[in-house]
Amino acid sequence: MGHASEPSHESLEQAAEWYALLRSEEADAGDRERWQAWMAAAVEHRRAWGYVESVSRHFATLQTTPDPRGTAEELWKANDRVMQRRRALGSLVAVVGIGLAGWLTWRSTPLPYLTRTRNADYRTATGEIREIALPDGSRVWLNTATAIHEAYDARYRTLSLIEGEILIDTASDPSRPFVVETPQGRLRALGTRFTVRRRGESSELSVHAGAVEIATQSGAWNVVPAGRRTRFTHDGIAPLAPTDSAREAWSRGVLIVEDMRLGELVEELRRYRSGHLGLSPTVADLKVFGSFPIDDTDATLDMLASALPIRIQRRLPWWVSIEPQADSD
């Protein structure tokens, strides 16, 4: 549909020549009249001139800067850097594959200065909690069964949360944002301490200090301040809810619960145990308070058994069940 009304190459060429003539010192009143006549002669000419105008508009904007000449020269230098890099690399890299179009193929060069990256992977086993010092002084704690990928470069400090949960305490570096990625979205730390947990098709964020900006894959956006938590999916961000420091206590090997259903607590404990942990539905709704050693879940189970009307059935080393206490016998 757009094609039919596009000006021909010839019209574009004429318009460009008019532009070059009219801006030169040589142009006189006669030239300007002839140009007007050319414009009046065809819609196509006016359309072609429209492109001269749209190109010129960008240069006009440049003229509105406080120091147009200085800005222009800086821009030229920036382009120079791009070209030098492109040229230097062109000779090093053999380009394989078909071209998009002729003008695209010669751009086919990687950017070595950007590839100077530190890449590392960290992983914890089930039941393991580990603290890692990152190269910039930030610290990250990996909760049980967690994997992250670290990619630091000149512009960003990026961690990808592949599975599990992490607590991050970022070191300040105003020039290099700290970013955590999950499949659902991207979190940008604004000077901060926060936990991120992957849960199936969603990710959870709790902010303990500072603030964190969320941008989901679909473009939803929000800023979560300290003391708030939320859950986000590929498509959106849930309303913010209050959070507290209990949610980062795991980093110290402690699980703090307050008014939590036993069912929910067992769900948590399962993350730290590789065997089967069963729960009788009749006791799932009991409420639990207290803090428990997460690095020793057997001890936690015994503590629960002493506080609640339950008993721990150890059928096999890898098979433990929580049952209601046998009727008084």
């Binding site: 757009g2 030169s24 406080p66 791009v82």
Partner: protein, 183 residues
């Protein structure tokens, strides 16, 4: 079994996506050294491919990869160029007293214009680029530009016309792309 086909079977974009998205992403990640940029560009690359499929389709997965790689390379350069431009603009701003700084909206507009200009200049042959730059960006007369370049004013005018034409073609292409939903 299919060796006799005269026309190679083409591969659908869904298949290309399924088979090559992860590869493209890690390929970009190696080049850019940054997982989030890589994810962005890989996403954009497939978006472009969906909106504006390769005219002949892909006969083989090797060809699909070649195409993606070429496209992704262009996108890498472009990303990098935008960052250079941004840096240049911030450097210019930093060199000026704070109170003369344009408003944030104004700055965004200026940065966009600078990006357009930068992209256009990069498409020009070096001599035409400099002549066009001196004329259009620095507002030198043909005579002043000629002096700086050591060529005749007539030649400057020729370069300016050529530079403008190339820029107009790029604008025309962008307009077409916008009409067809790319960008």
């Amino acid at each position: 079994m299919q060796t006799l086909g005269a026309t190679a079977p083409t591969i659908s974009i869904e298949t290309v996506y399924g088979q090559h998205h992860d590869w493209l992403r890690s390929w970009l990640c190696r080049r850019l050294g940054n997982a989030s940029d890589a994810a962005d560009l890989a996403h954009d690359a497939f978006l472009r491919l969906m909106l504006k499929p390769a005219s002949r389709g892909f006969a083989s997965h090797g060809e699909a990869r070649g195409y993606l790689r070429t496209m992704a390379n262009g996108m890498c350069i472009n990303l990098w160029r935008r960052r250079e431009v941004e840096r240049a603009w911030l450097d210019t701003l930093a060199a000026r007293p704070q109170e003369h700084a344009p408003s944030a909206e104004r700055q965004a507009m200026i940065l966009e214009a600078l990006n357009e200009i930068s992209a256009m200049l990069l498409e020009l042959p070096p001599k035409a680029a400099r002549a066009f730059f001196l004329a259009a960006a620095c507002q030198l007369t043909d005579r002043e530009a000629a002096e700086e370049l050591g060529i005749s004013p007539r030649m400057v005018r020729k370069y300016v016309a050529r530079g403008m034409l190339r820029c107009m073609q790029l604008q025309a292409r962008e307009t077409l792309d916008a009409l067809h939903g790319t960008d």
